[in-house]
């Protein structure tokens, strides 16, 4: 009875008598390593076979372009700061610009609603990646006001 100890080829059950079995597994394994699959399972009547591998063959790992990877990493570090109420957006003085470094938590702007000044804070250090709202204009709930690079 074929009993492959190799983890990459696990035979779940076998009621058939070899010779065809070992050949079939060999053929299947050859086919399997040529694909980019991580796991292959076949169930048929009273026969089950499952092939798996721990690591992708280096030739088969899809390459991520470097600039895209960098862009994604940067996007992951960008934190949006959103308006939590409806009102008029005002940049606080001294006003910040895109690119400014924030050393800690500070007030960036305020949303004036029903005569009340509601501060918008940076909630920590970072770099101002962009100012998304216009000074003096109305903003809605959930509108992105700033993007802060926390990287």
């Amino acid at each position: 009875m074929a009993r492959p100890g190799d983890e990459s080829v696990a035979l779940m059950s076998d009621e058939h008598q070899a010779p065809p079995l070992a050949q079939r597994i060999r053929a299947l394994a050859d086919y399997f390593v040529g694909t980019d699959l991580l796991r292959l399972r076949i169930e048929r009547e009273n026969e089950e076979i499952e092939l798996g591998r721990r690591h992708m063959h280096p030739d088969l790992v899809p390459e991520i372009p470097e600039d895209l990877a960098a862009h994604e990493a940067a996007a992951a570090r960008l934190e949006p700061i959103k308006a939590d109420l409806v009102g008029i957006f005002h940049l606080s003085r001294p006003s910040i610009s895109a690119g400014d470094l924030l050393e800690g938590d500070r007030e960036l702007a305020y949303v004036e609603a029903l005569g009340i000044r509601n501060p918008v804070r940076s909630r920590g250090a970072g770099r101002v990646a962009s100012i998304m709202a216009e000074d003096g204009r109305a903003v809605e709930y959930g509108q992105v006001l700033f993007e802060i690079d926390r990287g």
């Binding site: 009102g87 609603a113 029903l114 809605e140 959930g142």
Partner: protein, 425 residues
């Protein structure tokens, strides 16, 4: 006129937002944080330069405090005066005011002190009567009493159950109205004391939860004498309280007896049937009245023409206690043609969120006669395609096909009985 629509994060793609000149998000999906978020709603009106707020028919439409806050910020609330909303919103006050105006209310008593008092009162009110817990809800502490000899046992068990459920055993009595129809009267009043009625709507096709499903105007087989008395009472009541803007008085009608139930101090879901038979744009009238314009017409100028029916299309599983369905509408096709009106906020691809009322459309059909309106409604419902969620379309078609509906002889027990009979077979 330019409009600003408010919406929640869950309704960003809703049709009402597309139809407005501007749209403003006022909060996340859950109602308390968006559609009941008074500061954000008022702030939206102010930053966009609105003159007035139309509250629609849900959420803040009957909130007197909201009306006052609008006024404090120089905004016109399109609806009645806050004091009138407050008075009519309290059932006990509304009933007292209606009595003063000479409007028939359900006969009943105040708190009963003893079984002897209950027996005496029932002779005056007339059997059958209903004992109700003053702290009540959900049928707890409620008993139907059909004969004097049953009063003692019913009174004892009702007070005991009320005491156990609410730690308040006090009960009062109301006349039990058998097989009532739900008939309501549409009114409009301006700031100059002019009040008109725009006929009645029969809203007796109600789910077991008492939510309306099909409404029509005029009410079928309503004796002319009863109709005249209803309309006259509604106008008298509105004059009595100085009612302005659009409102609806709801009545229970049993035979020739009418009993005032409550007043809705806002436009209602089913207002299109009235608009169709009176050729009046009620929302436009609301805005005109709020802007201080006079009605400009009298009762005699308002002529009823034809018949209109509305079916509420809800995202609900009608076969499973009308349980609400959330999901994406994969395909939506609405009916068209003469005499058919569709009010909706959805289209193919709309996501029906779990936060709100399950109504996704209202289909309204007009006809020269009731028969013509029914035929047109059946055609319109068959033309409608909504895929992705269960809807009430098939249930509405089933109702329209029953002899009771076709003959116009149904009361509020009709749909619950039809569902029970259907479940039994």
């Amino acid at each position: 006129m330019r409009t600003v629509a408010i919406f929640s994060e869950a309704d960003r793609e809703s049709l009402h937002v597309r139809h407005a000149d501007e749209g403003f998000c006022v909060g996340p999906g859950p109602v308390p944080r968006s559609y009941l978020n008074i500061p954000n709603i008022i702030s939206t009106a102010l930053v966009t330069g609105c003159d007035a707020i139309h509250p629609g028919y849900g959420f803040l439409a009957e909130n007197a405090r909201f009306g006052e806050i609008c006024a404090d910020h120089g905004l016109t609330f399109i609806g009645p005066k806050p004091a009138v909303i407050a008075a009519m919103g309290d059932k006990a006050t509304a009933k007292r005011v209606m009595k003063e105006a000479g409007v028939a209310t359900t006969p009943g008593t105040d708190i009963l002190d003893s079984v002897e008092e209950a027996k005496r009162a029932a002779e005056t009110v007339g059997y059958p009567v209903l004992l109700k817990a003053t702290a009540g809800g959900g049928g707890k502490g409620m008993r139907v009493v059909e004969r004097p000899e049953d009063m003692e046992r019913a009174y004892t068990s009702a007070t005991a159950e009320a005491e156990a459920s609410f730690k308040d055993g006090r009960v009062y009595m109301e006349k039990l109205i058998l097989h009532p129809r739900h008939i309501e009267v549409q009114v409009l009043g301006d700031e100059f004391g002019n009040v008109v009625s725009l006929g009645e709507r029969d809203c007796s096709v109600q789910k077991p939860s008492h939510q309306k499903l099909i409404e029509e105007s005029p009410a079928p087989h309503l004796p002319e004498k009863v109709r005249e008395s209803l309309l006259e009472m509604a106008v008298r009541a509105c004059r009595h309280v100085g009612y302005t803007n659009a409102g609806t008085l709801e009545f229970l009608v049993s035979g020739e007896n009418v009993y005032f139930m409550e007043m809705n101090t806002r436009i209602q879901v089913e207002h299109p049937v009235t608009e169709m038979v009176y050729s009046v744009d009620l929302v436009k009238e609301q805005i005109r009245i709020a802007a201080g314009e006079a009605l400009g017409y009298t009762q005699r100028d308002l002529q009823l023409r034809g018949h209109a029916i509305e079916c509420r299309i809800n995202a609900e599983d009608a076969r499973n206690n009308f349980s609400p369905q959330a999901g994406t509408l994969t395909r939506v096709v609405f009916p068209g043609g003469p005499g058919v009106r569709v009010d909706t906020h959805v289209y193919s691809g709309t996501m029906v969120p779990p936060y709100y009322d399950s109504m996704i459309a209202k289909i309204v059909a007009f006809g020269a006669s009731r028969e013509a309106a029914i035929a047109r409604m059946e055609r319109a419902l068959r033309e409608t395609v909504i895929e992705g969620v269960n809807t009430t379309i098939d249930m509405c078609l089933e109702i329209l096909a029953t002899p009771q509906f076709r003959e116009g002889r149904y009361d509020i027990g009709f749909l619950p009985e039809m569902l029970t009979a259907g479940a039994a077979t």
